[in-house]
């Protein structure tokens, strides 16, 4: 080499200037040349070390399965059928344990409250602790635990099997047409587990524009915190209108319908964003279809029950206890002759009615901002807190409470499902969006875009339904 070391060490800027000068001297394609020689080297080394024999049967089976599950005709239908089976197993399996858990936990509430009364504890302490905090916890556990304990292991089996990349493969052309990245199908799939996790998973998307699209639209697939709400509504409103033998199938079909609607909204919103504030073309990418692997049963149970089910349940309980306390206080502190809950609900009622819901439902959503899991428990406690119902055991009682006493109609149920699907993400997800984008602006958009969509869609549904005289 001819260069002699400089007398004084060069400053960083001098080094950078030199690098720029040298780069200009090099022929234009040196980057491609460097990458090409790297690939050539890898090929040479691999060729020398790897040999194949004729045994390709295992490979053939993988390929045959892939041929079927990623075929243009059968790929999407197979996906929907698998989804329906997962929900059906969840709904059919969770019903009985849910009712048993509710019975046991609420029996304990009565016993404990009775014992408190017997030893002369003031009524407001008993009420606050047992009918407020404890009831919130009991609701969350009995409504959420059984479906999660079934849904998560099933989801994890598909994940470990290697099915998720096939889903991404099937949906890729739709996302590309929406101007979004094909890998968004993967982050969307993670969103079914937890939207905050889905938002973090968008790091696999290279282009900042497409990543933002994926972040802002992740909320349009229902996370598992919202599944119990959807499953409950599907069971007591859709399922109950069918013969018992078909009830859980109909309920599962309703939930699948909501999920498909969520995917449609994801694509629609991605398309809108790509045409407006996040204008740009979809970038190409290579998606690897990993070999199918036999899931490890022990790990599936560990991951889905400890990492996921208990993690989510624990978080839900932490937010349910204060929510239970808040709703009890709102229902038991009186201003004049009305409780605070009744006053707030009455104030929210016109807005709620306009979008086919009511004031109590909106109040429940406001209280449930920290975690979507607790919407239904909060809702029921708000209705019950007004002294309208004292016994609550299982879904039949719930149906009686909502339909017979609160005047819910099919429109209310449909709109609540829509609202639950579309409304703003929980606080954790909003914070995660902020952390991932480091921008208050995008976190705000991430919260308001779904919320605005939810109000708009519910308003349109309610208006159209009423115009035709359905379910008023």
């Amino acid at each position: 080499m001819t260069t002699s070391p400089p007398v004084a060490p060069p400053t960083p800027d001098q080094v950078l200037a030199r690098a720029r000068a040298l780069r200009r001297q090099l022929s234009g394609g040196f980057r491609e040349e460097a990458v090409k020689s790297l690939y050539a080297e890898a090929e040479r080394v691999a060729k020398r070390a790897v040999s194949h024999d004729g045994n390709t049967r295992a490979l053939d089976l993988d390929q045959r399965v892939d041929h079927l599950v990623t075929s243009p005709w059968f790929g999407l239908p197979i996906m929907l059928v698998l989804l329906a089976v997962v929900f059906w197993l969840t709904i059919a399996g969770a019903n009985v344990p849910s009712a048993m858990l509710a019975q046991a936990l609420f029996w304990f509430e009565d016993q404990a409250a009775g014992a408190f009364d017997a030893v002369g504890v003031p009524w407001w302490i008993t009420g606050f602790l047992w009918h407020g905090v404890y009831r919130g916890l009991a609701w969350v556990v009995s409504v959420m635990l059984p479906p999660m304990a079934i849904f998560f292991p099933l989801f994890t089996i598909f994940e470990d099997l290697g099915y998720l990349p096939r889903v991404a493969f099937n949906l890729d052309f739709l996302f590309r047409r929406a101007g979004a990245h094909g890998k968004q199908a993967l982050t969307m799939a993670m969103g079914f587990g937890c939207n905050a996790a889905g938002v973090i998973a968008t790091r696999i998307i290279d282009s900042p524009r497409e990543r933002l699209v994926a972040i802002l639209t992740n909320n349009f697939v229902p996370c598992n915190g919202r599944f119990p709400t959807l499953i409950m509504l599907g069971t007591i409103f859709v399922g109950a209108s069918f013969a018992p033998a078909f009830a859980s199938i109909a309920a599962a079909a309703a939930v699948v319908g909501v999920v498909v609607l969520g995917i449609i909204f994801t694509l629609l919103m991605s398309w809108l964003l790509s045409r407006t504030i996040l204008r740009g073309e979809a970038s190409a990418f290579t998606l690897e279809l990993p070999p199918y692997r036999r899931p490890n049963i022990g790990r599936i149970f560990y991951t889905s029950l400890i990492d996921r089910t208990l993690f989510v349940l624990w978080r839900a309980m932490w937010t349910a206890a204060p929510a239970g306390a808040a709703i009890w206080l709102l229902a038991n502190i009186y201003w004049g002759d009305m409780s605070l809950a009744a006053i707030t609900a009455a104030w929210l009622d016109p807005l709620g009615r306009a979008i086919g819901l009511d004031g109590i439902i909106l109040l429940a959503y406001v209280i449930a901002i920290p975690a979507n899991e607790i919407v239904v428990p909060t809702l029921v406690m708000a209705y019950m807190g007004a002294g309208m119902m004292t016994e609550m055991e299982g879904l039949d009682d719930l149906r009686r409470l909502l339909v017979d006493q609160q005047g819910w109609t099919l429109l209310t149920a449909v709109n609540l499902m829509l609202f639950s699907l579309l409304h703003n993400p929980c606080a954790t997800t909003i914070v995660t969006i902020y952390k991932e984008t480091l921008s208050a602006k995008w976190a705000t958009v991430g919260a308001l875009l779904p919320l605005g969509t939810a109000f708009l869609v519910c308003f349109l549904t309610a208006t159209v339904a009423r115009a035709f005289g359905w379910g008023v």
Partner: protein, 271 residues
């Protein structure tokens, strides 16, 4: 006894998983590799942790950390996001590259898929450009065998100039040999001579000139060749590191071998 020939020995005889207990660490090991090659499975096998291992590319987007002890040496192991290359600017690639360069691990295990070795070697070669303390683990040997693929580890080791160990992370096959190689490379007892891809004469000339400049500006910096190539390429991250003095700090850090870490990062990887 601990030798490569003892394939059947239970690894547990010398391997002590330490979970997230990463206090009093002697050495730091990084796990790099393409997506879906079983890095997280290997991570779990070594640490006894249960980092979720999904069968889809891109599962690990943050770094997960854990600890294990082998042969009385305590290791911290960092599971990096799976990437196909270290050249582009997506966030997971940057996490991986930054850690290999700025985290200064004592050794990097590049986990490769025996069934897709050629593509996997692209990344291995890129890691070899950054550091010579590398052990290549050829994982998923069972799947490869099922597909009728055989991998000659010795030929690979000769060509790459670093230890190459065939393993099946899921069953623990080959972990013993892998850990022995990691112990040797991370302590510096095993000297490697990594394969480095050379370019055209004019390119090499430019690289050498820039290397001299970098070494003068930040004496003792590790791998000035790689830095020179990155600067020629116009890599913004490396340019920033030079401008802000991060590279100079690397030197002093390497001298002190002061390794700090936070167990918080391990928690981030837990979901």
């Amino acid at each position: 006894m601990s030798g490569h020939d003892c394939e059947a020995c239970p690894v547990a005889s010398e391997l002590a998983p330490m979970g997230m207990e990463v206090g009093g660490i002697d050495r730091v090991i990084a796990l790099a590799g393409n997506p879906n090659t079983g890095k997280s499975t290997l991570f779990n096998a070594l640490t006894g942790l249960r980092q979720h291992t999904g069968n889809w590319p891109g599962k690990t987007v943050t770094r997960a950390e854990g600890g294990f002890a082998y042969d009385h040496v305590r290791y911290k192991i960092v599971d990096l996001p799976g990437t196909y290359s270290l050249l582009s600017a997506s966030q997971d690639e940057e996490v991986a590259r930054d850690f290999i360069l700025f985290g200064q691990p004592h050794a990097v295990i590049v986990v490769t898929d025996a069934g897709a070795l050629e593509r996997n070697l692209n990344l291995a070669l890129q890691v070899l450009e950054i550091t010579d303390r590398v052990v290549v683990a050829v994982n998923l040997m069972d799947e490869a065998r099922r597909k009728g693929i055989t991998v000659d580890a010795r030929s690979l080791a000769r060509d790459l100039g670093v230890p190459v160990i065939p393993i099946v992370a899921r069953t623990g096959e080959g972990l013993h040999a892998l850990l022995t190689a990691v112990a040797g490379v991370s302590s510096g007892e095993v000297q490697t001579s990594p394969l480095r891809v050379t370019g055209t004469p004019e390119f090499e000339h430019a690289v050498h000139e820039l290397m001299t400049q970098i070494e003068a500006a930040a004496p003792g910096v590790p791998n000035s060749r790689w830095l020179a190539i990155r600067l020629l390429d116009g890599d913004a991250r490396v340019e920033d590191a030079l401008r802000t003095g991060e590279l100079a700090q690397l030197v002093s850090r390497q001298q002190q071998r002061d390794v700090r870490f936070s167990s918080q990062i391990a928690l981030q990887g837990a979901q």
